[in-house]
């Protein structure tokens, strides 16, 4: 395995970098991922796949859009994402619970009656599972060490319009274990959403809002909530400034580190450690074993090599196990640059941007507040 720096960058990688550069080194440069599949990723991907199918059916002219019909079209893609996975017994995100939550969510937010209606593509299909790739070609962005531009990529659930004023919104559904009193307040500086808004603005969309829909899957009940944070121009500009800072940081660190690294020596010291909350929050960082070890390489066998595909619902694609010699070379394990046909122009899953929304809607920050719901 030759460690490397991918050409693509997404909000997950940036979030990891900001939390801990050493974690970025393990997860992105070395493409390591903890063994064992994540119930959160699988349940989230299955839910999204089912929702996508239900939405597509609902907006197919002449189709039966009854709740039962939506469930019947949602189940196969849901099961395909779920595969033969068996979640831990203690997890409330079982197959039964997650699909039941989807069923209840479809009752609460039936695609045809929901307060958020999708943007429709020219071919008449709803703008669901929206993906984008923005090559960072302007001179203000640093280049990848190869000389190529970085490509900022992402994927979200739907582009739509909120309410009767048709406020353009990015819709992102998040399965979670709980929705507490502060749930709605946690999104106002979320880099993931700022990045989506920035990307859509690069593509010509006048979007400032994200509708975050929480789906809390618990053992005996489900809870639902919607937050509608607004991201003004100044925040989006700050996000871009931070992106530039982060890319400079990544490339400078990589350039300093790469010539000194060998198979025997990781010289991981170039990548700063957090040594604080990032090591222990959310149940503990998955890479503490490597950070604590005198020689981390032998512990690589605790991880799989992965290719992070940020445009997939479940972005972790296993390339190979690292069983055995953690130092082994494996050229196919290289995190592949995400470059479908070498994008030189910004691209998205829409053929062209939608018409600009009403100016009153695009500039407003006083739209209806979060739609609080509970199940």
């Amino acid at each position: 395995m030759t460690p490397g720096l991918p050409l693509y960058v997404d909000s997950s990688m940036l979030s990891t970098l900001r939390a801990c550069k050493r974690k970025f080194f393990w997860s992105t440069i070395h493409a390591l991922y903890p063994t064992g599949r994540s119930v959160h990723l699988i349940a989230g991907a299955a839910f999204a796949a089912g929702m996508e199918a239900a939405r597509r059916l609902a907006f197919t002219a002449g189709s039966d859009s009854s709740h039962q019909a939506l469930l019947e079209v949602a189940l196969p893609p849901f099961l395909r994402e779920w595969g033969d996975f068996e979640p831990p017994d203690a997890s409330p995100k079982s197959l039964v619970n997650t699909f039941s939550a989807l069923s209840e969510y479809l009752e609460l937010h039936h695609p045809l009656r929901d307060v958020i209606q999708p943007h429709m593509r020219e071919d008449g299909s709803p703008a669901v599972e929206f993906t984008f790739a923005i090559p960072l070609v302007e001179t203000r962005f640093p280049r990848h060490p190869s000389g190529e531009p970085f490509v900022f990529v992402g994927r979200f659930d739907m582009l739509g319009y909120y309410g009767s004023e048709r406020l353009p919104v990015i819709v992102d559904e998040k399965t979670t274990s709980s929705i507490g009193y502060a749930w709605e307040n946690q999104w106002s500086l979320r880099g993931q959403f700022l990045g989506y808004v920035w990307a859509l603005q690069q593509l010509g969309f006048s979007v400032h809002n994200v509708a975050v829909r929480g789906i809390a899957i618990q053992k005996t009940q489900f809870k639902f909530a919607t937050a509608l944070p607004t991201f003004g121009h100044h925040l989006v500009a700050r996000w871009e400034g931070q992106l530039i800072n982060d890319l400079i940081d990544i490339t400078e660190t990589f350039k300093a580190w790469e010539p000194r690294a060998t198979e025997e020596k990781l010289v991981e010291g170039y990548w700063d450690m957090n040594l604080a909350d990032a090591c222990s929050s959310y149940g503990g960082c998955a890479f503490t074993t490597l950070c604590e070890a005198k020689r981390p390489q032998p512990f690589f066998s605790n991880y799989i090599r992965h290719r992070w595909d940020p445009l997939s619902r479940n972005p972790v694609t296993e390339l190979t196990s690292t069983q055995g010699n953690g130092d082994s070379k494996c050229s196919s394990c290289q995190p592949l640059p995400w470059a479908p046909s070498e994008p030189s122009e910004p691209s998205s899953t829409l053929a062209r941007p939608p018409p600009s929304p009403p100016s009153s809607a695009s500039e407003t920050s006083t739209e209806p507040g979060p739609e609080a719901t509970s199940g």
Partner: protein, 100 residues
Amino acid sequence: MNDANSLPGSPADLEPPLLTPLESPEKLDPAALNARLREVQVLQTKRELEPSEIRESITLIQILRGTMSTAGPKAKPRAARKLSSLADFEASLGIVGGKT
């Protein structure tokens, strides 16, 4: 795809057959329902589900969810103890002979 050792039409080429529909899934216990759902889960990894299998799976999920949507057996209310004297009251608080 056949390799050199398998003939077209050999068992390896056959898709898993249609599941025999359950007669009365609502009468099955959760373990049997879960086992059936697991069967469907594995089947989905081998071939596309048929509409009847999809509908049955949704029914199974709804039945299973119904068994989970209550918080389980409710705790029995603690039997009220009849306190007939101060000594009984103190004893109920763990106070014996005026001392804890």
